[in-house]
């Protein structure tokens, strides 16, 4: 039995994910929300999902097709939410 590594990349990723979550919540509490608030929220969500996919699920070392599939989901999902929010706001 080899000792399991005490510190792994996922430790730093977890810290970044926690900080991004706190930042997202703080962002909507700011007194002057701008038209960039929601796109910024979705960019943070995309980065967080990427962090989980790449480093928790370890898909950064997966075959290209899997990386493309998950990458496309992240981009389509967060862009769709931001775009439909923007469409509603302009009505």
């Amino acid at each position: 039995v080899k000792p399991a590594p005490r510190f792994i990349v996922a430790d730093a990723v977890w810290v970044a994910l926690v900080l991004a979550t706190l930042a997202s919540t703080r962002l909507v509490e700011l007194p002057h929300a701008s038209r960039w608030t929601v796109p910024l929220l979705m960019v943070l969500a995309a980065l967080k999902v990427h962090g989980v996919v790449a480093h928790f699920m370890e898909l950064n070392t997966a075959p290209r097709l899997w990386r493309l599939a998950f990458g496309a989901w992240i981009v389509v999902c967060t862009t769709l939410i931001a775009a439909l929010h923007s469409t509603a706001a302009s009505h």
Binding site: V1, K2, P3, A4, P5, I8, A10, D11, V13, W14, L17, V18, T21, L22, S24, T25, L27, V28, A33, T37, V38, L41, M42, L44, A45, K48, V49, V52, V53, H55, F56, M57, E58, L59, T61, A62, W66, A69, F70, W73, V76, C77, T78, L80, I81, L84, H85, T87, A88, A89, H91
Partner: protein, 194 residues
């Protein structure tokens, strides 16, 4: 991803199988996210007023709970690859312990909504809120059952044998529960306040 030294061919085939299931499930949620946002387009004021009735701090807490639980699962996979059964069990146990807080927070939230007479039929926002979080909660419960199964098996089997593939696959599923909530949280709780 079935890359452990002793995971063998079965894990190599199991990991893509679970990934196929995960991406299909994520696509189903993507459709629901699109339906939610499309429905919001026609009734922005109602959706934003309803979103303001949600407790964003509970939504944030649940995000932190799932991220922390998922992080412990990553450590469990590393321990399993090293053949460290006690370490694997300890990490899965921690993931379960932290992950259980998600159910507590969610039930508090559902109870609080019910006590204010808010339910699936209140309006379109809450219909989506209960359907989306309910479906996510169902996935969460399946994940908890998987983790309990892995925790029990890690106590009786070598973790770097055939069980490793199951630990990796169970971990991938648990991370999907995590990443779906990462999108649900801003979409349901935050954008209505922005």
């Amino acid at each position: 991803l079935g890359s452990g030294p002793a995971s063998g061919a079965s894990a190599q085939t199991r990991a893509p199988a679970i990934l196929t299931f995960i991406i299909a499930d994520m696509l189903a949620f993507l459709v629901l996210f699109g339906l939610f946002m499309s429905s919001r387009t026609g009734q922005v004021a109602l959706f934003d007023r309803s979103a303001a009735q949600l407790d964003a701090s509970l939504g944030m807490l649940n995000t932190l709970i799932l991220l922390t639980s998922g992080w412990q699962v990553v450590h469990a996979v590393h321990a399993a690859r090293a053949g460290d059964a006690p370490g694997t069990r300890r990490r899965i146990g921690l993931a379960l312990l932290v992950g259980a807080c998600f159910a507590v927070t969610k039930l508090i939230e559902y109870h609080e909504k019910a006590s204010h007479g808010i339910n699936l039929l209140t309006n379109d926002f809450f219909m989506f809120y209960f359907v989306l979080t309910g479906m996510h909660f169902l996935h969460y419960l399946i994940g908890v059952v998987l983790l309990v199964f892995l925790w029990l098996k890690a106590g009786t089997e070598a973790v770097d044998g055939p069980l490793l593939g199951w630990i990796e696959s169970g971990g991938l599923y648990w991370h999907m529960v995590d990443l779906l909530w990462i999108v649900l949280f801003p979409m349901l709780y935050l954008i209505g306040r922005a």
